[in-house]
Symmetry: C2
Subunit: 294 residues, 2 copies
Amino acid sequence: MVKRGEVEFIDRLRHRVRLPASSGIVLGIGDDCAIFRPRDAVEDLLFTTDLLIEDVHFRRATHRPDDIGWKALARGLSDIAAMGGEPRFCLLSLALAPYCDRRWTDAFYRGLLRFGVPLAGGDVARAEKVTCDIVVAGAVPRREALRRDGAGVGDAIYVSGCLGGSALGLATRRGAAWKRHVHPEPRLKLGRVLREKLHATACMDISDGLSLDLHRLCKASGLAADISAPPIFPGATLEQALHGGEDYELLFTLPARTPVQRGLFRIGTMRNGRAGEVRLDGRPLPPLGYDHLR
Amino acid sequence: MVKRGEVEFIDRLRHRVRLPASSGIVLGIGDDCAIFRPRDAVEDLLFTTDLLIEDVHFRRATHRPDDIGWKALARGLSDIAAMGGEPRFCLLSLALAPYCDRRWTDAFYRGLLRFGVPLAGGDVARAEKVTCDIVVAGAVPRREALRRDGAGVGDAIYVSGCLGGSALGLATRRGAAWKRHVHPEPRLKLGRVLREKLHATACMDISDGLSLDLHRLCKASGLAADISAPPIFPGATLEQALHGGEDYELLFTLPARTPVQRGLFRIGTMRNGRAGEVRLDGRPLPPLGYDHLR
């Protein structure tokens, strides 16, 4: 076992990698997407990859193949939404397990293709467990991608919906919460509104739980945060709303007096302090969300 | 088990996918890379993904972590070479097995980063077996990417070096052949020469064996081919040279009278006939190379 979590792993890796300007990479490891600037182009391109592995991210007994295809792509689209981007195409590397027959693969691709994002290529192999890696490419006008590192002192912190639904669904496998778990809806429209209209100062998606993801946003912005309880998915606990992963709502910051539309929930304020420190109603909130290497 | 091979699987998938012009995808599923044309840019971008899975593509007992990192990226770079491209950046999705400690991951990334290609992002997870999916992005001047589908009747067929070395190395685990298997050298410089100077009419890399890869090139170009035996890696058999995978040499076609440099081997001629049909010294050569779904 790697004796440290994902945050440290990624920090170490980031410091090993050189990104010469000639590579076109404007933003590398550590945000929802990498940003690439093609020569002479009017748009920046966003790239994200997301693994979805049997018995790690889903189980054969509870997830239908079309659910798996849907979720594989939804995770990547949520990263594009978090940067205010518009999806352009995707690539899929898919390792098929021995039980994956033609019906399985047809259903899988049906789920994946339902979003209407062109599948431009990928790779295919056989393995013991189903393993998908989805790559999504998106586009934003040059220099306008939303990032995690732009929040300022006094900015208001928002979430785009109730949290904890996916964790509740995973626990109960029932009703609206289960649907939320298996069919998350990437917030692509909202991401664009945040970029174009509300001029969010920072943004990311809540994939690993509010406590961990807000910690990351704060760390990237070099600030701390004070929050109160977020809106909670009906039936979920406060714990699930704070630390449960895979809600795929957006977490973002706006200048304090920005008027916002309905359905967006202010949960707190960015402040000076130790970078990454989050307080809930005045008490330290540890980043207990889902750590992929814990 | 899927009751059909990879060629059919990919054919079926290709027919299911729509690629609207607005997506920017110029070439989708079925070549070494997808081609994406950014708006207003002077370059086309190439994208390829390659899976490398423990106990499918490598074994823990025989492959050191730096070899695995090297090979993961080399496979993708070979696809960029096959289109005449220049690598720009890569993304890596990596699932770590329980035995992967810090020494393992450090060595893995050392192998991967040795090529000097900037690592711009990716994903990380835990799984039972090490699973890597590498994404490589490359660039070529607009409309100049080499493809599989451009070979013409009478074009000469070439390979860029001796074949069968990787298959021999896998069997013997010794000497130059083993080195060829674990440390393949993507033919990036040659790919550029083929595009800029020799104006190759079609090109691909030999990753799954000459017999299968030439079948694919012929099928894509709607033609047949007549060849004689290719140059054979010292110690390898003709079978290994014809059907063994992972040599990562280039297979390409040139107008018949093109003068070529040393180190390129003419093995035959493109002809009219049933698309995909290959004859070796006048006899049918079945596509027996490595089929990832067989």
